[in-house]
Every structure is written in C-alpha cells, then in structure tokens.
C-alpha cells in the first residue's frame, strides 16, 4: 500500500484541488457539528442542575425535565438551603475549603522540601527513597482507604479534621512532581554561588528558591486543592460527625435520606440546589486558574 502522502504534480497544481476542497470543507463542517454536539453533552448536566435549582419541589416532579418552568424559585431554594438544619450547608462549604486548603498548603510544603532535597543533593539512601516514592505512585489510592481508616482508628484520628488532612497531604505524586520540576527549574550553580558566599543551606533554600519555583508550587497547590475537594471515599470512611463533613459528603447523606423517606421530595430540591452551590467555587477557581491547572496536569502526565 502506498504510504506516502505525496501527490503527483498534476494533483498539486489544481486539477484535483476543487474536489479536495469540497470534501475538505464537508469534513470540517461535520467535525464542527460533532464537536458542537459533544459540547452540549458535556454541558448538559450542569444546565439541568441550573434549571432544576430554579424549580420548586412540585415543579421538579411535574415532569418538565429539561425546560424552565414558569415560576423561578431559585431564591426560595437558596434560602431553604442555607437555613437548613442550622446553617449546616455553609459549615460544609467552609469545611471543604478548610480541608482542601490545608491539604494543598501542607502537601505542597512537604512535597517542596522533599523535591528540593532529592533534586539538589546527593546522599546515602537517595535512590532508595526515590524508588519508594515511585512504587507508592503505583499503589491504587482507593485500596489504601480502609487501611488508612484502620490506622486513623489506631491513632485516634477518626472523626477529626487531621484524620483526613494528614493522609492526603502525604502525596507521593506531589513529591515526585516537585522533584522533576525542581531539577529543571533550579540551576545548581545558583546554589553553589550562594554557598560560596557563605550562606547556610537553610538561607539558600529560602532566599533563592521560592521565585524560581513559584509557578510549580502554585500548580501543585491547585492540583492538591482540587483533588481534595473532589475526594469522597476517605472522608466518608473517616468522618461521622456531620459538623465536619465536606460538602460532597453532606450532599450524599442528604441524598440518602431523600431516597429513604417517603416525603423525600423537599430533600431532593435541597440536594439539587446544594449541588449547584457546591460546584460554583471550583468552577470559578477553574476559570481563573485554568492555564495553571492544565499545564500542571500536562506536566504531571509527561513526568510519568
């Protein structure tokens, strides 16, 4: 079979051009249509969520599905949401921010120091530690959840904030990410120059490094924040006090009661409105920081 895309001289000049042009344009148009349809698909649930959050309970079950009903009840739904059970929804959002922020900051700090040590120094045990980190990357995180629960239980961390934050801050991905990133971002000569000038290791690290690696640190902060916000299994297993639930766990509990109770209709409306509100912070963060996030994921992917 002829493999080369090279066309004959006649084809290149023009006798074939009109036909190719017509087919090319049809193909491109079809592609646009397909991409457009897929965009609708990806936006559909968010659209449905928006529409449904504006409906009162009765309207929800009236079967109008994907379309707005006459009466826009978003205000009432939001009021219900935030006054439910003594403002617990607001607590849940605050909890999510606290969990995600803490894991992001703590995890990045740990990963940063680890990456720095691994990328800038040679020492005994270095390759062992690197292999250890790489191996841990291959361990499926969900298989760890029950063992972590057992460990939290042994350490009396069940039902505490730290029982969720500490396991998530120990991120082998973060450490490896920082290691590879710093190897590329920090010129060792800079460190040598500082040392020659008499700066201690500690001073060197803190004065020279931060501006060199701040994009990488910011990216890891974002990735850890998003990863923790979306994490469900670990909080589900570790927490039973609903006052320290993150918002996804709270919503799932409401959802479970909605399914069980015969008068669950009002609860469905709560879950839907709550889901909409819970999505807003991340989507906003997303829009603002999307380049960082995409580049961070890309870098992480290429690293592996």
């Amino acid at each position: 079979m002829e493999d080369s895309p090279v066309l004959s001289g006649a084809a290149r000049t023009g006798s074939v051009a009109p036909i190719r042009g017509w087919m090319h344009r049809l193909g491109t148009a079809l592609l646009q249509v397909v991409l457009g349809v897929m965009a609708v698909y990806f936006l559909l649930p968010v659209y449905w969520l928006l529409v449904s959050a504006t409906k009162s309970d009765t309207a929800l079950f009236a079967g109008s599905g994907l379309w707005l009903s006459a009466h826009l009840a978003l205000g009432e739904n939001l009021a219900d949401l935030f006054s439910q059970s003594g403002d617990i929804f607001l607590r849940w959002i605050a909890n999510s921010i606290f969990y995600s922020g803490s894991v992001a900051v703590l995890g990045t700090a740990l990963a940063g120091m680890t990456g720095y040590a691994l990328s800038m120094f040679e020492f005994r045990g270095k390759s062992g530690i690197l292999y250890g980190i790489l191996t841990s990357l291959m361990v499926p995180s969900a298989a760890l959840v029950v063992p972590i629960f057992l460990m939290d239980h042994a350490l009396h961390l069940i039902n505490t904030y730290w029982g969720v934050i500490l396991p998530l801050a120990a991120s082998p991905f973060g450490a490896f990410f920082m290691y590879v990133y710093m190897r590329g971002a920090i010129p060792p000569e800079l460190l040598d120059a500082a040392r020659v000038d008499g700066a201690s290791e500690w001073r060197t690290m803190w004065s020279i490094v931060p501006h060199l690696v701040s994009p990488g640190l910011a990216t890891l902060l974002l990735l850890l924040f998003i990863g923790t916000w979306n994490n469900f299994f670990l909080p589900l297993v570790v927490l039973s006090n609903e006052n320290i639930f993150p918002v996804s766990l709270g919503l799932s509990v409401w959802n479970a009661t909605a399914g069980a109770a015969s008068e669950g209709h009002a609860v469905y409306s709560l879950v839907i409105t709550g889901a909409l509100v819970s999505v807003v912070p991340l989507v906003l963060l997303f829009f603002v920081a999307r380049r960082y996030i995409m580049r961070g994921l890309a870098f992480g992917g290429l690293v592996m």
Partner: protein, 285 residues
C-alpha cells in the same frame, strides 16, 4: 560542613514521617490484621492466610472484579477513543478549539459525587429529564436505572467525568510533536486527517498508554458512582470490589476480612497495570 550533610535528611524527614504513618504503616497494619479473625468483640484469633483463601473463593468479590473488567473494557475504550479524537481535533486548529477544550475539561472541576447526583437525577424517571425523550425514541418505556442498564448508565457518568482530563494529557503529549514534521507533511499535500492519524497519533502512543493505565486503575477502584446510585435504585452491595470492601468494613464490621480484600484488590490492580505495561514493552517507570 556537617550542616550540609544533614540538611537533605532534615528536609525529607517531615514527608517521610507522614508517608510512613499514612502509607507504609497502614499497609503493614492491614497485612497484620488480615492474618486474624475477630470472633465476638475482643477475641482475635490468628488465622494465617485463611482470610485470603476466603477472598479467593468469594464468588461475589470476583464477580465484582469481572464486572469491572467488562465495564472497563467498554468504558475505557470509548473514553480514550473520544479523548484522543478530541485532542487531535483541537490540536488541528479547528474553529473554537479553545472553547471546546475548556468545555470538555469542565467536568474535572465537578466532584464525582455531584456528577453522579446530576446524572442519577437526570436518569430518574420521576424527574422526567431524559426518560421521556428516550422513551419516545425507543418506542417503549426506558428505565436508565434499571438492573440491566444501570451499568451502562454509570459507565456514561464516568466517561463524562474523565474524558476531558485524559484529553488534556493527550494534548500535552501533542505539544511535543515537532512542528517541522507537520509542516513538511503539509508541504507534501497531506490533509489534516492524514496528519492526525498517520503522524501525530503514533507519536503520542506513550501518552495514550498512560491514559489507558490510569483509567484501568481507576476502573478497578470504582466506588463513588455506584455508592450514590445505591440511594436512587437497587445496587448490589458487591457491585464493585471497593463497594464490597466498604460494606464489609462498615455494614458488617469485619475489618480483618476487609483488610484482606483491600490487599487482594491492590495486588490485582498492580498486577493488571504491570501486565499491561509489560505487554506494551515499556518499563514500569
């Protein structure tokens, strides 16, 4: 000078400490627990590997694993194919490519629980979102949460959630394709389609492999979606291996056996990943 020798160790120690506490020790503790069996409240009997034998003989567990294999077969293939298609299309400067890249990636900002809730409610007949349309199309009433269909409904949710993420990874791989090759091909008269399929795709096959590996690992860990759906319709507590482990731990309080199950699941996942990487002739790193 001594300060310098110690410094890397000082830097590493916090991380190592937390890793030991929440990674190494839990696994070791789980291994330890899995060798016991608790009769009554306090009596723990050493039973060696009999928990593992029980897992290997537990039909429901392996049915769950096979269910995930089947699920993965369909869902991962569709998802990676879609992600690759989107990545190639966006990379070939189609109109509005930035818009599409953002929209397809948007589900990444949505927690799995919320995605499962949104789709689950859309599937639910009582809300009348998708079912009237589909019922009219199919000519008979359709229940997307029904026993035979719910697996595919969940597959749809997972695809919706992760296609964009995989697309971003593939787009990153595409940025390393040298523009000179592309230009040369264009000069030779290759169409965009030919460039995408014949040149770009082979050059990013290692990224495609990465997305495959990540997706297979994810599939075997499936938990949130069936868990949320279990409040909306009938989902067997052993629907997925992780759901089984969760039920065993918290509904039955059988920590020792659950620990054995978790370890077996970890080994199976590790083994599948290793096998896949071996088959495609690349090292584990």
């Amino acid at each position: 000078m001594r300060g310098r020798k110690l410094f890397p160790y000082l830097c590493l120690s916090p991380f190592i400490l937390v890793m030991l506490a929440f990674f190494v020790f839990p696994v070791a503790y789980a291994l330890y627990l899995s060798a016991f069996s608790t009769r009554g409240l306090f009596l723990s009997v050493f039973v060696g590997i009999s928990n593992y034998v029980r897992v290997l003989e537990a039909a429901s567990f392996w049915v769950a694993v096979l269910r995930m294999v089947y699920f993965g077969f369909i869902q991962v293939t569709v998802m990676i194919a879609l992600a690759t298609f989107f990545a190639l299309a966006i990379d070939s400067q189609v109109l509005l490519s930035n818009f599409y890249r953002l929209v397809y990636f948007l589900p990444y900002a949505i927690p799995g629980v919320v995605a499962a809730l949104m789709w689950g409610y859309m599937y639910a007949p009582s809300f009348g979102a998708l079912t009237p349309l589909l019922s009219r199309l199919m000519g008979h009433s359709v229940n997307l949460l029904g026993q035979g269909v719910v697996l595919y409904s969940i597959a749809n949710v997972v695809t919706w959630e992760w296609t964009g993420y995989n697309m971003i990874l593939l787009l990153a791989g595409l940025t390393s394709v040298s523009p000179t090759i592309i230009d040369a091909a264009r000069v030779d008269g290759a169409s965009d389609l030919q460039i995408s399929l014949r040149i770009k795709l082979p050059l990013i096959r290692h990224v495609v492999l990465l997305t495959l590996v990540l997706s297979i690992i994810g599939t075997l860990q499936l938990f949130s979606e069936p868990y949320i759906f279990s409040a909306l319709t009938t989902i067997s507590p052993t629907f997925s291996p992780n759901l089984d482990i969760y039920t065993t731990t918290f509904s039955y309080g059988n920590f020792d056996y659950a620990a054995a199950m978790a370890i077996v699941l970890g080994v199976v996942t590790f083994g599948a990943t290793y096998a896949l990487l071996r088959v495609t002739r690349r090292g584990a790193v």
